[in-house]
Symmetry: C2
Subunit: 449 residues, 2 copies
Amino acid sequence: MRQDTSNDSPLGLSGGHSIAAKSDYSNARPRVVVVGAGFGGLEVVQSLAKKGADVTIIDRRNHHLFQPLLYQVASASLSTSEIAWPIRALFRKRKDVRTLLAEVDGVDAQAQNVLLTDGTTLPYDILVLATGARHSYFGNDAWEPYAPGLKSLEDAVTIRRRVLLAFEKAEREPDPARRAALQTFVVIGGGPTGVELAGTIAELAHLTLKQDFRSIDPDATKVILIEAGPRLLPVFTEKLSDYTRKALQKLGVEIRLGKPVTECSSEGVTVDGKHLPAETILWAAGVQASPAARWLNTEADRAGRVIVGPDLTIPGNPNIFVIGDTAAATGEDGKTVPGLAPAAKQQGQYVADLIGRRIKLKKPPSPFRYRHQGNLATIGRRLAVVDMGRLKLSGTLAWWMWKLIHIYFLIGVQNRLSVALSWTWTHSIGYRSSRLITYADQQADTDLK
Amino acid sequence: MRQDTSNDSPLGLSGGHSIAAKSDYSNARPRVVVVGAGFGGLEVVQSLAKKGADVTIIDRRNHHLFQPLLYQVASASLSTSEIAWPIRALFRKRKDVRTLLAEVDGVDAQAQNVLLTDGTTLPYDILVLATGARHSYFGNDAWEPYAPGLKSLEDAVTIRRRVLLAFEKAEREPDPARRAALQTFVVIGGGPTGVELAGTIAELAHLTLKQDFRSIDPDATKVILIEAGPRLLPVFTEKLSDYTRKALQKLGVEIRLGKPVTECSSEGVTVDGKHLPAETILWAAGVQASPAARWLNTEADRAGRVIVGPDLTIPGNPNIFVIGDTAAATGEDGKTVPGLAPAAKQQGQYVADLIGRRIKLKKPPSPFRYRHQGNLATIGRRLAVVDMGRLKLSGTLAWWMWKLIHIYFLIGVQNRLSVALSWTWTHSIGYRSSRLITYADQQADTDLK
């Protein structure tokens, strides 16, 4: 691939010629393949509208997932369909977009092909990898069966089943020690997901389930939040971290800071050399990027994220972009762009703009610059923390802001109304509309034995 | 057990003494155990309010399911939580009711114990079995993996996945014959469920998915409805059956009457000696009662339903009632009470009334009498048939009636609003809010290969 260093782009890259050269479209519309329909991938496709490209979006799921609210599916407040949209339906009117339900297995950068797990290949002129991240057990993958993480709808339904089932089993358990373990919920990781899970499980026990049981006392439920670092929500200010800790403690959450978990098993966790018996353990401690770096045979950081240049391409290949949680992008200030939905969206817009300029043979844009809009996290049903530059809020006002922002970012009128409706019940009387224990096919019977 | 034949009950049964005799409650409140939280079981518990009994309701699922709308979950119009309620939450305010998530394995009628699969036993003074029915393959159980039936939320999610996945696979299939098989949906059974499934899949293909695909033509989708009997909806009048057949044909459904399916496999079905290649086969042809007759070692009819007396008790045991789809009850007219939700509810009310009278040592009620309220079935999004005695309707008016009745019978304001909201979208623009392909844990990957 020729590197046109005479170009006035800050990267010295040029794209137009190599694109047109490989295209088999009569009108030379470049084929853009986007892998992953998360916030980043979706934004690329949306922003490529009318830019003159033929777009294929590939995802191994048929739906886009609004991950910031996934913990609410796990805690039975929202149903799966309230935070997920069929990708195909989102682009039904875009005749320039093809949606493929398929799993990517690799990339042949030489031949410019994406390799799918069913053995077929898909040629591209420009490739955008936005394949996200999975939870990481920091080398302790054996812990996964005992401490599920929260990344997909299936993860959320699994966690919902485990949490609700623990209460059901406790109701039937005559042994007090065993019952106490059934009523102990350990959340590992004190970032936003861990804080939100711990707060919502505490409220589930003390508010939603209060009147529902006869043998057990839901108030006896223990929720323990473990964070290896010195404070919760490390990306927020210390004051807001402190507020969060106190607010969670008021909800009845026990918080353990400064020591990592050294063991997870079916019996519970070990932390600071002590064993905590617990039936339910949830993992919210770390993420690992998807295997894009391996597909591309390019450099990655410790979390597996592909190191990209200032225009979000990989070194030496101007036709491959990596964005979102899969990418380690560095801002002009030298800081890594955080793994947040707004960051992925901004990268998606940037890449679409860059591709559009290439197609029109215009000057490439300046390097990607991340505009931080702030951090938000909910603690309970009337409490949240907001850290937006000079605007720092905690409490009920922050919570209303959190609610409005999240409803605003949902797609479509029906989902907004539906989520608003579900929240009205949950936040007024504590009723949660999705308290369903559902199974994969015939698994149910074994759980009841 | 003493049969008090001097009693003026038409059955010569008496209950009061044997109940009090075995009760270990200080105030001698009889322990009523209800197995199954379908329409019948739920009604027993609701109608037992303030009747002086201690009630335990057992179900192997944590939710009551509104089965008449289950096909709408299977066809992606409604989400699982819109038609299911946690049983425990329904009875949270009834301190006389205990909810147990457990599976029943048998009944020891001598010792008056219910046996659970976890090895524990539960004593009862009065037992009500309302365990429903499963689909039946008439001895061809090997067909089940190829032709799933529709009874639980899991069944509905499985069918939804298969139907949506067939279109996704067709989009990627280069071989025309294989693609045609992927776009062929066979529904076996011409009762209300079969008619509703066939109609809704035809509309899914021709309306909802119309713009979504690029390689396949959703209009090329074939929906074939096979009924072994001479007409669809045999419990309706011939005129309404005929209307239904024509309405379905207008929606593009191919109807085959008068010949049973003789083979189901991964390749398709065989009917009338001919093989029909089809990727997706759905079973709506028959039901088999749950194993209550085996637990009780009592007589059952061909469909496995327990033969009960005029007061819905089993022969020789006035303390065991069987109701709903599990029972073969005969009305005074000699006709078997049909397996419909209103019939199960009426039986539930009857049994609760009878138990209440026993507790107060009052005269037992007259034999159970089923009041038929009519039959309803939808065909498509603006068509239904209603057969209510002299009121026989078809078309749009019948469909509005069907809608209003179903929304009325949902439990709670939130679910009614939520279903009304989902239907507004589905019925106006054809959008279906729950087009999610979800999996059991790690199954996803294999489907895409």
